[in-house]
């Protein structure tokens, strides 16, 4: 058992591009679920339209990078409108079903043979990230003591954490404003807010759009970090994992999603590496008839599911949250 490598990998992914993507996605979900009480299960859809908007703009339509970013954000904006109009007036479970269905529709459309010319089918799109990496000021590996990043990862790392910091700042400022207080009161008691003359639907829509924008940025980072977009990366699991990260850190807290993602990815990589090592080699620690190599990669996801259940049951406020601030009552 090579504990050094296990911890190195775990810290690397806890602070690396993976955690950044999830932190951004979870910040968006925090605006939706944590502050406004909207149960958006389609964050993968927001990530997908943004990532594909960027990738297709550059790789398929030959547009410049910044225009691609604008198109990606616009696509997420339109998606929020399309989703919000039918569902925001409905009960929480309807919104959940509609959003998860939409994200699946988008994934199937992006992966479809019919639109292969635009979106590359199940192989996705490549060759759109060069403008991003051309801006890279790093010339070699970035060494951070405990671990180091490759040149490209270091650039994603730098840009990503700056974006996370800016997003946190935006959320912090907005949620202290009167606008943010209206969102929180919608979460607590929609009828009361309505009786005060506020247009609840408009506020919910604004929150859906804002959270969708953070989802879009997460989609950009995911696309850029691997320099490709593949439909299977935008399956519903990514939404569920982002929820787990959010609930772990604490919903309705500015740093909740960030800390949650860091811990989530630390644990995920740690467990993956640990069981991977425990089942590999000639004389594995865990015998083959209990767990094979392939099975070892599943244990962490089994534990994520279990963890999400236990978290929601015993500590819905996560690490930093306030139990009174968790919107867990519908109907």
């Amino acid at each position: 058992m090579d504990w050094g490598a296990i911890f190195e990998n775990s810290f690397q992914s806890a602070l690396g591009p993976d955690a950044i993507v999830y932190a951004l996605a979870a910040i968006g979900l925090n605006v939706h679920f944590g502050y406004t009480g909207l149960l958006n299960f389609g964050q993968a859809g927001f990530m997908a339209v943004a990532a594909y908007g960027l990738a297709a703009s550059i790789a398929t339509w030959g547009l410049p990078f910044w225009l691609g970013i604008v198109i990606g954000l616009a696509a997420a904006f339109v998606l929020a409108l399309l989703l919000g109009i039918p569902t925001l007036r409905l009960r929480a479970d309807y919104l959940a079903i509609a959003t998860i269905a939409t994200s699946e529709i988008l994934r199937l459309l992006f992966g479809s043979v019919t639109l292969k010319d635009q979106f590359g089918g199940s192989n996705g799109l490549q060759g759109f990230a060069s403008s991003f990496y051309d801006l890279n000021p790093y010339t070699g590996r970035l060494n951070l003591g405990l671990f180091s990043f490759s040149k490209n990862d270091a650039w994603v790392f730098t840009v990503g954490w700056i974006l996370v910091a800016l997003s946190c700042l935006v959320v912090w400022v907005l949620m202290r404003s009167p606008w943010g207080r209206v969102l929180k009161s919608i979460r607590e008691d929609e009828e009361a807010v309505r009786s005060l003359g506020k247009n609840v639907f408009a506020y919910k829509m604004q929150a859906l759009i804002l959270g969708g924008m953070f989802g879009a940025i997460a989609g950009f980072m995911l696309a850029l970090k691997q320099a490709s977009v593949i439909p299977s990366d935008y399956a519903t699991d990514i939404t569920f994992f982002a929820y787990t990260a959010l609930l772990l850190g604490g919903a309705a807290r500015v740093f909740g999603p960030v800390v949650g993602s860091i811990i989530f990815w630390f644990l995920l990589t740690f467990l993956g590496n640990f069981f991977g090592q425990a089942t590999s080699g000639a004389d594995p620690l865990i015998p083959d008839w209990i767990m094979t190599d392939i099975q070892s990669s599943l244990v962490r996801f089994i534990l994520v599911g279990l963890g999400l259940m236990l978290l929601m049951i015993y500590r819905p406020q996560g690490i930093f949250g306030d139990r009174r601030e968790i919107a867990i009552d519908a109907r």
């Binding site: 039918p86 079903i97 939409t102």
Partner: protein
């Protein structure tokens, strides 16, 4: 794990027996095309694909099928790069060495099929398969009659409608389970898809692992699914209700439960797609304009009878009436002296069983894999929402509509890989126009 090994062993044995079951052709072969014609792994590569091509016309079981030689199969890896190809030998076998474990796609060149034959079954000429361990991975391309001449759109419409109704009935069983549970507890269960998979996997275990006939295995699987539903209620949902956990929190808990179960299924069952050992490829009979295999008729009959009994039971029996009372107003039912927890437990047992049955039937109709239920979940949601969340008849009508939409839309020009999309789009449209569903009562849902 043992079960999985046993199942794999049974599968391998079955194929070897299959190959041995064609002695006449083995005798005629002067020079076997490849050294792998005897259903063994090639000595030089650890991983390989062994595909079998059988003409199933007039054959009672796949083992009786005539081998089809001279057909080309090409294998591509997940990136679309060709990794190998082969031509079937006199025993109808193609053996293609593979570079590594992983996901591959085998494509059969339909032009190389003999005159008058074509692929039977609905899987098409391309199959994606997962190679997990060393040794040969087996794949079957059943070959049968030329499909009925696709001359008229009307005929295809009829065929699509029939398989749509069949698919809708399978969905209806699961949707009925979901609807009953939602109606009595208010829980939107995102782990409902895992109840579907549970039934199919348990039946697979009994069938392949223990060698029972599929009918016995299916009946046992339905019973075990009922217990599984009860375990869900007793160990998780009832304690949560007693704690006063909110419905949104329960919804997130159900997502965790779904993730948990899905990965356990994959852990035990593996990532591949497998089929039961009976009723795999049946020849379709022709009834006027309709083409149906025996198993499809059986699936439809079993579903219709189950649904009819459920509906009658809900209206006529004491427990059915109690269920509707609890669904209507739990507090009033409780104060009228009904055991609300008992009713909910009964609903979970029945809901689990009926959902498990839908999994078994789906496994018979198509194939079994660890996320078959999860893939169906959104269609089940679409069906229940379409009909009206929590209404029995609504779930039924919604399911048939969804099934028809999925199977008929390709005939009307929707690309077949997008056929699920039509049902999901309609789900969103119905929320826009009539959120309470077709049969739902008009009430505030916001």
């Amino acid at each position: 794990m043992r079960l999985r090994l046993a199942a794999l062993f049974a599968l391998a044995m079955g194929i070897i027996l299959l190959a041995a079951g064609t002695p006449s052709f083995a005798a005629e072969t002067a020079t076997p095309a490849t050294p792998t014609a005897s259903a063994g792994a090639p000595a030089d590569s650890a991983y390989s694909l062994v595909a079998t091509l059988k003409d199933l016309r007039g054959a009672a079981t796949p083992a009786d099928g005539k081998p089809v030689p001279g057909v080309t199969i090409t294998v591509e890896d997940s990136k679309g790069a060709e990794v190998g190809s082969g031509v079937s030998d006199a025993a109808g076998k193609v053996s293609i060495p593979l570079p590594s474990a992983g996901k591959f796609t085998a494509t059969l060149d339909e032009k190389s099929l003999p005159e008058g034959t074509s692929l039977s079954g609905k899987t098409g000429n391309s199959r994606t398969f997962q190679v997990l361990q060393e040794g040969p991975t087996f794949l079957q391309f059943p070959i049968g009659n030329e499909p009925p001449k696709q001359t008229g759109k009307v005929e295809r419409l009829i065929d699509g409608s029939v398989s749509g109704i069949k698919f809708g009935l399978i969905i209806a069983l699961a949707a009925l389970g979901l609807s009953l549970i939602f109606g009595t507890t208010g829980l939107t269960n995102f782990a409902h898809g895992e109840l579907i998979t549970f039934g199919a996997l348990v039946a697979y275990g009994f069938n392949r692992g223990m060698g029972m006939t599929l009918i016995l295995a299916g009946v046992l699987a339905v019973i075990v699914s009922g217990f599984f539903g009860y375990a869900n209620e007793r160990l998780l949902w009832r304690p949560l209700r007693k704690r006063g956990t909110g419905l949104v929190a329960m919804m997130i808990v159900s997502i965790g439960l779904g993730l948990f179960l899905r990965n356990i299924y994959q852990y035990v069952f593996g990532g591949g797609t497998k089929s039961y050992d009976q009723y795999v490829d049946q020849i379709a009979h022709t009834f006027g304009p309709i083409h149906l295999a025996n198993k499809e008729i059986a699936i439809m009959l079993i579903s219709v009878v189950t649904i009819a009994i459920t509906c009658v039971a809900l209206v006529k029996t004491r427990i059915g009436k109690a269920t509707r009372a609890v669904a209507d107003n739990p507090a009033l039912a409780s104060s009228s002296g009904m055991r609300v927890d008992g009713v909910i437990a009964a609903v979970w047992i029945f809901g689990g069983a009926i959902t498990g049955l839908s999994g078994v039937l789906l496994g018979v109709d198509q194939q079994v894999d660890f996320q078959m239920g999860f893939k169906l979940l959104l269609l089940v949601f679409a069906a229940t929402t379409l009909g009206g969340l929590g209404t029995t008849w609504g779930a039924l009508i919604g399911s048939i509509v969804v099934g028809l939409m999925v199977e008929v839309s390709p005939v009307l020009g929707v690309p077949s890989e997008l056929k699920y999309v039509t049902a999901l789009v309609v789900l969103i449209l119905i929320l826009l126009v009539r959120p309470q569903g077709i049969l739902g009562r008009r009430e505030r849902v916001g």
